[in-house]
């Protein structure tokens, strides 16, 4: 993708509480993966602001795909947590296919919480250049002899671990 895209979404905490009270139906477990549910549990119970932020981030990421007529593949967009505490996006299944179709190579997300809402913004754009391969010859070849197309292919190999597409967020 030559140009960046942004997606944004906001989820009130009350919407999450409403989902939890949805007649005992497992609504949240349809929207959050097992790993996300584990991250959403605290000693005091479910982390409502955290869930709201996670759902907002999923919607924000989905907007990057500009997938008209598609439902949001909730569980295929995982918002996990890096060791440093910032959110990490992992795409799998239909979400990964939508990302490839939209030429989305790299995604960053940021989430903010302030009662009564969580807000998330997602950015997609070209894969950031590593300082290790910053130099690029005029014909498009890098200092290691790789072309931009080679580099993109290699990035996808890196992004796709097993069936998942791992994309760091911040």
């Amino acid at each position: 993708m030559e140009r960046g895209r942004v997606g944004i979404d906001l989820v009130p905490y009350g919407r999450v509480r409403g989902l939890l009270a949805a007649g005992g139906r497992p609504v949240l477990s349809r929207m959050l993966s097992g790993a996300e549910l584990a991250l959403s549990r605290t000693d005091a119970g479910l982390d409502i602001p955290g869930i709201a932020g996670r759902l907002a981030a999923k919607e924000a990421v989905f907007k990057l795909f500009r997938a008209a007529g598609q439902t949001l593949p909730w569980q295929d967009i995982e918002i996990l947590r890096a060791d440093g505490g910032w959110p990490v996006v992992e795409l799998g299944g239909r979400a990964a296919r939508l990302a490839r179709a939209a030429l989305v190579e790299y995604i960053d997300v940021s989430i903010s919480h302030d009662d009564p809402c969580a807000i998330a913004i997602a950015y997609s754009g070209p894969v950031p250049e590593s300082p290790l391969r910053r130099t690029e010859a005029p014909d498009g070849a890098t200092d290691t002899g790789r072309t931009a197309a080679d580099r993109t292919t290699e990035e996808w190999k890196w992004l796709r671990q097993e069936s998942k597409t791992s994309v760091p967020g911040s």
Partner: protein, 79 residues
């Protein structure tokens, strides 16, 4: 005559929007923001509950959920 099941779905939507007292069969639920991405999952459960049909989230066709008429045709049609 509309089926009882689709009336349950209509009532479920209207119950979430107390500012509304009517919902026509052909009103687009998504464009009119009566159903958004969060409530869509709940709508699917509401349809399942009213129809007895289990809906596979992975194979959902959004066209089947655009209007009450579409929902009725997809999930409440009698043969």
């Amino acid at each position: 005559m509309a089926s009882t099941g689709i009336e349950d779905v209509r009532a479920w939507i209207l119950n979430r929007h107390p500012e509304r007292d009517t919902l026509s069969p052909d009103e687009n639920l998504i464009e009119s923001r009566l159903v958004d991405s969060l409530s869509f999952v709940e709508l699917v459960y509401a349809i399942e509950g009213a129809s007895g049909v289990e809906i596979d989230f992975d194979t959902i066709d959004i066209q089947d959920f655009q209007t009450l008429s579409a929902i009725e045709k997809a999930f409440f049609a009698t043969v």
